[in-house]
């Protein structure tokens, strides 16, 4: 691999990592707050991609989808938490299982509504060209993905550290019952957290739609990617999601071309290795293993 190719591959890996971060951020947030691994995350992501498809087909406005999809899916999350998850408060495992059922329903309804053709969304106008890097073309959209991922990380970090909501979330992650005892409306806090996590999954669906195809079964594929990222990075922390995607994105990219015969298994092998060496994940606060 020449140095030029290595640099381009590194860019590919970073932009893939940025996509994974956007995908995993919501999963990590919900887990950190509610101790629930939302296995419907992939279905929310899929829904985001299909909403993007419809919006782009009807209006040609990708940016409208970028607003609309997270809002709609956030609203779905806002409904789902009190209607379904709240009934199982305190039974974390049952809550996780519930999300399996939800994902089956959402994925099937998407197929019935949008049909089961394979689809694709064009790159948004203005980001559909290439710029010259090291004497070769490089797609602007992938640079946009890197920038968007970084910006999202910064925004989330600021919200987390500097705002009242962030303070509540931090406190909730530490000790939710105590927060409730202090008079905070924990129901509202959980509903909002779940809604934000769902909206982030939808957002990932929008950003990824022009890059990856839209097809039946994409929900499971990307759910597994996001699980690997959060487990490797460390569950429940924003920095964990950043670390996980920063490792998995480039590792997947270089693995694909350097050891293609292991491309399918590589990220799982990395995950197993990380857990063996660091049971909390790279930056996790919770020890996964004793």
């Amino acid at each position: 691999m020449t140095p030029e190719t290595a640099v381009v591959q590194a860019l590919n890996g970073i932009s893939f990592g940025a996509l994974l971060f956007i995908l995993a951020a919501g999963l990590s947030l919900i887990f950190g707050m509610m101790d629930v691994v939302n296995l419907a995350h992939g279905a929310f992501y899929m829904l985001g991609a299909y909403i993007t498809l419809s919006v782009v087909q009807r209006t040609g406005q990708f940016w409208l989808a970028l607003v609309l999809a997270p809002v709609l899916i956030g609203a779905l999350g806002l409904l789902m938490e009190p209607l379904l998850l709240r009934r199982l408060r305190g039974r974390h495992l049952d809550q996780v299982l519930l999300t399996i059922g939800v994902s089956l329903v959402i994925a099937d309804l998407i197929g019935l509504t949008w049909g089961r053709e394979i689809r694709s969304v064009p790159f948004p106008a203005g980001l559909d060209h290439a710029i010259t890097i090291l004497g070769g073309d490089y797609p602007v959209y992938r640079l946009f993905v890197i920038a968007f991922g970084a910006a999202l990380a910064v925004v989330l970090a600021i919200v987390h550290r500097r705002t009242r909501v962030g303070a509540l979330i931090r406190a909730g992650v530490q000790d939710a019952p105590m927060l409730a005892a202090l008079g905070v409306d924990i129901d509202r806090l959980f509903a909002v957290t779940f809604a934000i996590g769902a909206a982030l999954a939808g957002l990932a669906g929008v950003i990824a739609a022009p890059v990856f195809g839209i097809y039946p079964g994409m929900d499971v594929d990307y759910l597994i990617y996001s699980l690997v990222v959060v487990v490797v990075g460390g569950l429940g922390t924003l920095s964990g999601a950043v670390a996980g995607s920063a490792l998995i994105g480039p590792a997947d990219t270089f693995g694909k071309v350097l050891v293609p015969q292991f491309a399918l298994a590589l990220i799982f092998a990395i995950m197993a290795l990380v857990l063996l060496l660091r049971p909390t994940g790279l930056l996790g606060r919770i020890r996964i293993a004793r």
Binding site: I118, P139, F254, P260
Partner: protein, 424 residues
């Protein structure tokens, strides 16, 4: 096994059979408005002077999971054919039972069992994924059920192989689609001998079909004097193709041969244009599914210049194709794809063979002999089965994607006549 010896009670209409027939209608309704705007091919039996006994066809197609749209397309073609024939083949009213194989060999085997034992179909058609065809091959052979394979292209299905692994030909199995050899070897030879290409780099999906395609292309290309300079494989369902295309760009062979289909093909072509491969002098080539209608309608002009081989193109200039494309478009307001053609030809072959035996399917050997001798004008050109293998003998077209009046279409630039699979 002796699942299929109930011929004597086949035409007794039981409640169970009635349910099966109405299930066909339910399946049609179920496919939704997008899939079937016109639910026509249902089990409607028109009263006529003296219709023969009902002919029951079991269609095993994917209606869910990743190949669902292929199944819908094949169903549309089947329904359209029957509609044109007034729902009768050789004076026998036709009932089609559709079942979803859900892209899982276990499900496929179970539905095949249903066709054999519960629906008691006269013949079976369909199956998109090669592993499912391989999985049910022995059951079909043992049940002496006539099966028209209308998509899966794994080479072994119509060949003689050691220990029948992974599969082998059966006198009861016919194929109206293709073998991976047919869509890969001829273009390899054509590139070396006709197009004057000296070197090719291969990049295929790392699964049974992609690997077969790469191997067959390689043998055709090297036999014609070409040289393969290297290769790369991507797992099925690779999300991100940028790393692969970057790697292709880092080597000097300009002609790339690929086998990808569906989502993979879309992602590959998009990554290809994003990295400016055409401007850098690279040429995309491959087996026809790389730029088939399902892919082309999504990537459009981004596939411009891609050269592929297939036995059909929507632009193919013959009377049968024109009639077929027109009728399909009129019925469904969309262009047919190659999957529709495969199903259409399956119905044509069955229709003609039935006429030859005057609608009598009880004598299996006679019906098989009739199928073996059908010859007809298909939308793809002249169609006949290789009597030895039951794989079609067909022309392979070399197609290039061109943008004509704002639309990306596969145009015919060359032809390899009468390609037969080398299987014995």
């Amino acid at each position: 096994m002796d699942e299929n010896n109930g011929a004597e009670r086949r035409y007794r209409l039981t409640r169970r059979q009635f349910l099966a027939a109405s299930s066909a209608a339910a399946a049609i309704a179920a496919c939704g408005p997008a899939a079937t705007p016109n639910p026509s091919g249902a089990a409607t039996v028109e009263p006529t002077a003296s219709p023969g006994p009902a002919l029951k066809i079991g269609q095993l197609l994917p209606f869910t999971k990743v190949y669902a749209e292929l199944g819908n397309s094949m169903k549309r073609a089947t329904d359209l054919y029957l509609k044109q024939k007034g729902n009768k083949l050789a004076n026998r009213p036709v009932t089609v039972v559709y079942e979803d194989e859900a892209n899982d060999p276990v499900v496929g085997a179970q539905k095949t069992q249903k066709f054999i034992d519960s629906d008691r179909v006269d013949l079976m058609m369909g199956i998109v994924a090669t592993p499912i065809a391989y999985a049910v091959r022995n059951a079909i052979d043992a049940a002496k059920l006539i099966f028209i394979e209308t998509n899966a292209g794994g080479n072994a299905l119509t060949r003689t192989t050691t220990n029948c692994t992974p599969s082998c030909k059966s006198k009861y199995i016919f194929r109206t689609s293709f073998s991976s050899y047919q869509i890969s070897y001829p273009i390899g030879e054509y590139f070396a001998t006709q197009k004057g290409v000296k070197e090719v780099f291969t990049f295929v999906a790392d699964y049974g079909f992609g690997n077969e395609s790469a191997a067959d292309f390689t043998s055709g290309f090297t036999k014609g004097g070409g040289k393969i300079t290297g290769g790369l494989k991507a797992p099925l369902g690779s999300a991100d193709f940028l790393p692969y295309v970057t790697q292709i760009k880092a080597q000097n062979t300009k002609d790339i041969y690929s086998f990808f289909s569906g989502t993979d093909a879309i992602n590959y072509i998009k990554a290809w244009t994003q990295l400016g491969m055409p401007a850098a002098g690279y040429k995309m080539n491959g087996a026809g599914f790389l730029t088939e209608q399902d892919v082309l309608k999504e990537v459009k002009e981004q596939a411009n210049g891609a050269t592929t081989s297939l036995f059909w193109a929507v632009t193919l200039d013959n009377a049968e194709n024109k009639a077929f494309v027109d009728a399909y478009q009129k019925e469904y307001s969309l262009l047919p794809d190659v999957f529709a053609v495969q199903a259409w030809d399956g119905m044509q072959a069955v229709d003609l063979a039935l006429q030859a035996v005057k609608g009598d399917t009880s004598n299996k050997d006679a019906f098989i002999a009739a199928l073996e001798s059908v010859k007809f004008k298909s939308p793809r050109g002249d169609f006949e089965f290789d009597k030895e293998t039951h794989n079609p003998i067909q022309d392979m077209y070399i197609r290039e994607v061109k943008v004509q009046s704002g639309q990306a279409v596969n145009t015919i630039v060359g032809k390899v006549a009468r390609v037969t699979d080398p299987g014995k």
